[in-house]
Symmetry: C2
Subunit: 478 residues, 2 copies
Amino acid sequence: MFNKRTKIKELLAGEPTGQQVTVMGWVRTFRNNQFIALNDGSTLNNLQIVVELGLLDEATLKRITTGAALKITGELIPSLGKGQKMEIKAAVIEVLGDSDSEQYPLQPKKHSLEFLREIAHLRFRTNTFSAIFRIRHALAFAIHRFFNEKGFVYLHTPIITSSDAEGAGEMFQVTTLPLAQLPKSAEGGIDFSQDFFGKSTNLTVSGQLEGELAATALGDIYTFGPTFRAENSNTTRHLAEFWMIEPEMAFYDLQDNMDLAEEFIQYLIRYVMEHNAADLSFLDTRQKEEEKALPQAQRSELGLLDKLQFVLDNRFERITYSEAIEVLLQSPAYKKKKFKYEVKWGIDLQSEHERYLVEKHYKKPVIVTDYPKDIKAFYMRQNDDGKTVAAMDILAPGIGEIVGGSQREERLDKLETRMQEMHVPLKEMQWYLDTRRFGTVPHAGFGLGFERMVLFVTGMSNIRDVIPFARTPKNCEF
Amino acid sequence: MFNKRTKIKELLAGEPTGQQVTVMGWVRTFRNNQFIALNDGSTLNNLQIVVELGLLDEATLKRITTGAALKITGELIPSLGKGQKMEIKAAVIEVLGDSDSEQYPLQPKKHSLEFLREIAHLRFRTNTFSAIFRIRHALAFAIHRFFNEKGFVYLHTPIITSSDAEGAGEMFQVTTLPLAQLPKSAEGGIDFSQDFFGKSTNLTVSGQLEGELAATALGDIYTFGPTFRAENSNTTRHLAEFWMIEPEMAFYDLQDNMDLAEEFIQYLIRYVMEHNAADLSFLDTRQKEEEKALPQAQRSELGLLDKLQFVLDNRFERITYSEAIEVLLQSPAYKKKKFKYEVKWGIDLQSEHERYLVEKHYKKPVIVTDYPKDIKAFYMRQNDDGKTVAAMDILAPGIGEIVGGSQREERLDKLETRMQEMHVPLKEMQWYLDTRRFGTVPHAGFGLGFERMVLFVTGMSNIRDVIPFARTPKNCEF
């Protein structure tokens, strides 16, 4: 048994009483041939190791370089130095793995996020990224805990699908056919009957439709899985592969849906503030440092921690789409012709419009409801006005749309008519329609883009920095 | 706000004191125009609704059919009838959704699992499948809770990858190239530079290698995500798309790894026994009923609940591969030539061998360690004997391999040599080798096939019955 170590997080949470402990981790810095700052990934904080004169020979001292892995046994004692409560007085130091400082890409200095993206396999070893990925973990766990406490069932919806009912954009094709020699059908097309699944298949863009099948039996369910968009969008907000959470609830209307989504987001933020204080505080400081270089106007109005606290302390603003259009039309920005895109009832809100509403006008998260039916999906419940559907999008400061949801159309006749109007193939969707055919119920749900939530909570600005290994156009490394 | 209901699970856990409650759910049965058995998916147990004479007109009574959705308000009172502690004396009954009993595929009778697989979109509405999917949820939550309690970081490793380093079998290709008109390169091959990622890409078979990158910085991590095998295996144990949990731990050797895996499996079983007693008990009875039709010899030695308790009460047997071969060679089965496949040192253990060890010889889960290096992956740590590697597989009764893991080769020179011997491309794997180049540490990990674990815990026999929508050769419905 090798792993008789104590994690640094645990040690730092306790008291130094001279007890003998063993720690293992990686050297962050080594000062004056005497003070090792050791990090083991369990916390942002390093543990100071004191190497007394004569403990190690010259050759071993030289091997204690940034990035080297050490196993250290010694007494945990109160530290006399500044900046730490405790330190280990090393009795035995074993070098587990060397790190040639000439070659090691991570030097004890500031590296750009761009550079670290290139060496994503090593960036976990930095303060910034270890904080981000511990927060990402905490958010994921909080998501499961939230739904579990409420009696939701976690549902794994399929990744490979044969339907494109959502019509949510371009999809990745999945095939085992030999591309160099594709079998042809009698009609001259590709003979997908020879493909693995006997038909053409894609990567899923959403688990919602399958989620509805389970919700109309188990009551409340949620998905949390990868989804895909083959869109050629090289922005700081888009990934080709990202994780999404999609709860779906039987017996919910639009208001129930909004209430749940708001409670959910606040729960997640509260959880991370309680469990990841050190990481958040580090990122809060980091953001302030980064923004020092920017002109005042481009700096965040609130620091990261203040922003999160603000979201906890304030109810989200709830407005209808029609009200949103009215606000935009009355805005100074509109009157001064500062919007690039047209504003009128019927448009899909553009990023500049969403940002105006959230960041300038309401200055907090906004839930926009009742969108025109023509810019929304076929499954959204039609309102009595004949023009709008019971949709709701949550817009967050600095991020834009973070949640998209709706009450679903539970009335079979209205759903079928809408599907016909929108050219959704009814025949292939009989399984979906069965939920309306047999014991249909009012139900609703929403999707939360996980990486956008991580962006929001970490205050990072590029979505590639909050997922371990980003997949974007022309980029599929590691 | 529509959803002012109480879940049946909650009601049944409390006391009936005549309080007014609202429930919503689906009719399972309606007896004598008087007793509705209502299920809302929150629990296996139905709630009895008493419809007093005269409450509903004839037309409404006729709409209360199996599968119909109801909203019921009334007093929750102690039940005088047998079989239930409480019931609702209905004051208002609203039919939310009808279910035409002529058309509804789920009749109040026993349906075969094969039939229910065909209507997987409706099988959530049966006792068996609602129990299975609640248990699946509980297992998933227990997995996250186990690792979170131990300070592991949940890592989302990529689904789309450009490497096939694992060599774990045939892979699904992912592309956005137009299949009908594939672009050609100057050499006449397919021009993948025009593909979405600018290169040929596949669906992942494992997140382990990426997991190692994070573990050698954050310490302990785990993945829990979908993985894929494009193998044409039409068995009761294989899926083309399945979920896998892959923990990876820095500073672990093989023994640490085994200890963790054993503790993990026992934790999961204990969690489900504590949280899903009704579901497990139903499946226990179900299995006994099913097996009544079988000859004595084919029945399970232990019932489902007894089997799970047995796994909790007994340490897993730990034997080396060499010992396993010896046991097989000494077995009556071998001497009577009952094995179809050859038994000698160096073979990959076949299912019949694993079953003999687990079900006949040791009669409990067995961890087999130190396999011949030639039948294992390049990254496994080489033992000093020069012949074996520090691998470990956990074999479970009735399932076979449920966990596969190893200590990883942390020594750069030995790893590179082994990769060369096994024709793993070193150049493309520099990112992986960097973990050995800079601060390498002993580390280990394993993979647990989630569906196999669900199979084990539910006692089901076909893996297609423990995942919501199975993907198997020629089968990609819903």
